[in-house]
């Protein structure tokens, strides 16, 4: 699925209940990280749930694996990875993630007060694009 397809699918979901069920479904379908990979090295510090992010770069393309102990957060990570995975560093830097989350009607999840690690995770993705 591409992010454009996800935005289309989301447009059919009228209620927040359906949206959240869809996000939880995305989270459940995303492979979990094995326990040995959930180390402090890959932990994105968030206040209310734990988020892990592991980058991998080959031929100037970066991909990520992510996980969280909270299921809605994990689903949101699946969306973030759909946005950022398999892109070059310059493509990563060019993504207007706020616009995409606004189209999905999920903008509140990027607000700093949410502290669910999502904003920190996006900052980390952009950081990896700089240093890898």
């Amino acid at each position: 699925m591409t992010i454009e397809e996800l935005i289309e699918n989301f447009a059919f979901l009228d209620s927040w209940e359906d949206k959240y069920r869809y996000i939880i479904d995305l989270g459940e379908k995303m492979p979990s990280l094995s326990a040995d990979k959930k180390t402090d090295e890959w932990l994105v510090k968030g206040c209310q749930s734990q988020v892990w992010l592991i980058p991998c770069k080959s031929n100037d393309i970066i991909s990520f694996q992510g996980d969280s102990d909270a299921m809605i957060v994990k689903g949101l990570i699946a969306i973030v990875l759909l946005i950022y995975n398999n892109k070059s560093p310059s493509e990563i830097k060019a993504v207007a993630v706020d616009d995409i989350f606004a189209k999905l009607g999920l903008k509140e999840h990027l607000s700093p007060s949410r502290r669910n690690g999502l904003e920190a995770m996006i900052a980390k993705i952009r950081h990896y694009a700089d240093i890898l």
Partner: protein, 404 residues
């Protein structure tokens, strides 16, 4: 007769719709909503009565200085302190505790001394002493709470030694809701020669305080939890203790005679209020305390006790919900987890239903870990909370369970 529906009308924000739902505000332990009288009073001060205090020789300054000092008298009355000179205005309860550490602690604590706190302290009453311990080299002892969240008096008595110079302890846990037996703790501490600082941030919201009856040496609470504004806190200290303490910060409004060579300082409380204080916030806080006193602290307590019993029963009826902190006589703070739902996910769904709770470690991370969790959900009551709020909470939790 405590008419909670009429009382709710005093808090305009409670009538707000949140995501199209009634505002079910169950995060008063983090910060309480403000009654209109507080908001109006503060506006009035800025619109018609504002200038700096303790400085100008003109009408507005004289008027606001007397309003500011009258606010101190109101706090004195709220705490039943012997004198208004024992009331120091600070920025927050956190600053109040830091003031005691920096001023009293640096002067009177030495290597070989002991400071005793409990497992249930907020970070403000834990980290402050850790940092000072690392500076001075005293021993920081931590007394236990039992698995149900109750205070372990035996462990406290064991860890209270002739070397204990300070017991710094909460009156009510912001995670467990446990009300600590201060009436027993304080005389035991005094018998060993220790001073006692009470973190009354949660306690001050829920029941009347009498610092003379308690005989505590210091007591801290914050304005924003007692229905007042942010940016204002209170430190109560026995006068002879305050009088023996050096300044905490230096600047204007706290000095007696200043020359280029030397400065002498004002007596308390001015000695600890360097710089322009939070004038309007102090007056707003006094208005909030007057509001609480007009309702009657005992009436607030009995309303909340009834609601606490109701909440415990309602939460107990939810399958898979575990309450953390079930001590007898606990106050209106309810931490819990629901099997199979991360507290963060729960909060997302509750928010959509207009229910505000807090999740995480609640600035008491070691305590949450000691109780066996890394993150918990917390609902907390205020004087405006109703049974209907609790019913909505329970419905929302049951709804959340259908998602996972």
């Amino acid at each position: 007769m405590y008419d909670v529906d009429a009382i709710r009308k005093d808090f305009p924000i409670l009538a707000l719709k949140i995501n199209g739902c009634p505002n079910t505000f169950l995060d008063s332990a983090a910060s309480a909503q403000k009654p209109k009288v507080v908001i109006d009073k503060m506006n009035e001060m800025y619109l018609h009565e504002y200038s700096n205090v303790h400085r100008g020789s003109y009408l507005l300054s004289e008027e606001i200085t007397s309003a500011f000092e009258e606010a101190r008298n109101t706090v004195q009355k709220f705490l039943n302190a012997k004198s208004s000179s024992e009331i120091v205005f600070t920025r927050s309860a956190t600053e109040s505790i830091n003031l005691v550490a920096a001023s009293w602690g640096r002067k009177f604590l030495k290597s070989g001394d002991e400071v005793l706190i409990s497992e249930a302290e907020h970070h403000a009453n834990l980290v402050t002493w850790q940092v000072l311990r690392d500076e001075i080299g005293f021993k920081l002892n931590i007394c236990r709470v039992n698995d149900d969240g109750s205070f372990d008096m035996e462990d406290f008595s064991r860890k209270l030694t002739p070397n204990t110079k300070l017991v710094a302890i909460t009156g009510m846990s912001n995670v467990l809701g446990t009300i600590f037996p201060l009436q027993e703790i304080i005389p035991l501490a005094h018998a060993k020669g220790a001073k006692v600082l009470v973190d009354a941030c949660q306690l001050a919201v829920h029941q009347s305080l009498d610092v003379q009856a308690l005989d505590c040496d210091f007591l801290a609470f914050s304005g924003h939890k007692t229905y007042g504004p942010t940016g204002i806190g209170v430190l109560y200290g026995k006068y002879e203790l305050l009088d023996a303490m050096p300044p905490y910060q230096c600047g204007g409004d706290m000095v007696d005679v200043v020359t280029y060579e030397h400065t002498t300082f004002d007596p308390p409380p001015a000695r600890f209020e360097a710089g322009t204080p939070a004038i309007v916030e102090a007056i707003g806080l006094a208005e909030a305390l007057k509001y609480m006193m007009s309702l009657g602290l005992d009436n607030i307590t009995s309303h909340e006790n009834e609601l606490t019993a109701y909440t415990i029963a309602k939460l107990s009826s939810i399958d898979g919900l575990r309450q953390i902190g079930t001590a007898k006589g606990k106050g209106g703070v309810f931490s819990f987890v629901v099997d199979g739902i991360h507290p963060q996910d729960l909060a997302f769904i509750l928010d959509k239903e207009g229910v505000a709770i807090r999740v995480g470690h609640h600035c008491a991370a070691p305590l949450v870990q000691r109780m066996g969790y890394s993150s918990v959900a917390r609902a907390s009551l205020g004087l405006y909370t109703t049974k209907e709020d609790i019913d909505i909470l329970v419905r929302a939790i049951n709804k959340a369970k259908t998602f996972f």
